[in-house]
Symmetry: C2
Subunit: 208 residues, 2 copies
DNA sequence: GTCTATATACAGATAGAC
DNA sequence: GTCTATCTGTATATAGAC
């Protein structure tokens, strides 16, 4: 019998299992899978290596379970965005993306790393993929609404424009990793410029 | 005495050393440092593990040396770009970036991975950093020329506009890693849209 | 320079007592 | 459920012959 069977879970074991999971998620995110031996997780979680393997059967399985925990905050909550005018919807979405990335620095870096290396379980990749799709869709819809409502030019290509915004946001995220210490232009300045130029271009009469 | 001393290099040893280096660079780029044991490099380069360590003293040092080789193609050759009109300069620079990324897929992925994980020697990070700075500068100059020559609006902010282009390109690169199989919009389409919208926005009268 | 054989270290995983 | 002790594999690195 092992802990992965249905009928385990004495109150004590659950708390311990949870502590292992949380610790593992933290360490994997911070230092990566290969640089985090089970002995390290064991020390930080204050249990023995053997106990970890009793709960999870293998390091690989612990990793998968911990990933689930890491991904928990990866949801999109747009609130009552539908009631805003199109331009503000777009700005809000950009701000949401930025805020998320800033709040979850460590784990974003980790997830990006998984994507770049094409490693990690498929569920994770598809989860992230879905999130991107959803985000892009929200932007597309906002642009369409603006166009149909007469605030944006009729010639816009909502899908491409949305994709380009996502792309630029990814790039800003990326450059946070590249430059680290000395960013050539501050993120905030660049984000404002992105918003400004995007909206200028979408609007019927660019005021400038 | 070791191979890292000044006075080694019999003809035979140099060729072997070189083969080890090339093999290591290839394998590290493809599978990463941690997933490439010396035994694997030894097998592919058709030498013994011991010989590798005779030449390089440690795996770490082999890695640093191999990185140098990996970075060799990382240079910017713009040709006679100066003679082109501003708009075409920008398009050309975008194409150069794209072409490079497509040609050096494996190693780009590897270098990006190093940057994301903040690992790898500082020389590498600063080399990449410099390249980005140079590329951004070329774009900035092109935009300034266009502005001063009267083709672009006088209100443009060359530095920010250049940064935004680089950012978008990074994002496109990034999404190649994220989506892999099923890109929501093709790279080419997105690149064309980037060029088009950027230039439309920069130009005095946007023709659309 | 290049090899074979070996030392050393540490990882993940198991056995079995409590 | 949780532990200590141990097994087993594999990695880097060294010793020493050729």
């Amino acid at each position: 019998m092992s802990a992965t069977d249905v009928n385990q879970a004495s109150p004590q074991g659950v708390r311990t299992r949870d502590r292992i999971l949380t610790t593992a998620a933290r360490l994997f995110s911070k230092q990566g899978y290969e640089h985090t031996p089970l002995s390290h997780v064991a020390r930080e979680a204050e249990v023995s290596k053997a106990l970890i393997l009793w709960h999870f059967d293998s390091k690989e399985e612990l990793f998968r379970a911990a990933l689930g925990r890491t991904l928990e905050p990866y949801v999109i909550d747009v609130g009552d965005i539908g009631s805003l005018p199109a331009a503000e919807q777009i700005e809000k979405l950009i701000d949401l993306y930025t805020k998320f990335v800033r709040t979850h620095g460590y784990s974003v870096r980790f997830i990006v790393d998984l994507m770049v290396r094409s490693s990690g379980p498929d569920e994770v990749r598809s989860h992230v993929h879905e999130l991107y799709g959803l985000f892009r869709e929200l932007l597309t819809t906002a642009i369409e609404r603006g166009r149909d409502g007469g605030q944006f030019r009729s010639e816009t290509r909502p899908d491409l424009d949305a994709a380009l915004i996502v792309t630029a946001l990814d790039g800003i995220l990326m450059e946070r990793f590249l430059d680290e210490k000395e960013p050539p232009t501050s993120d905030d300045e660049l984000l404002e410029h992105l918003k400004k130029t995007t909206l200028d271009r979408l609007r019927k009469s660019s005021p400038l």
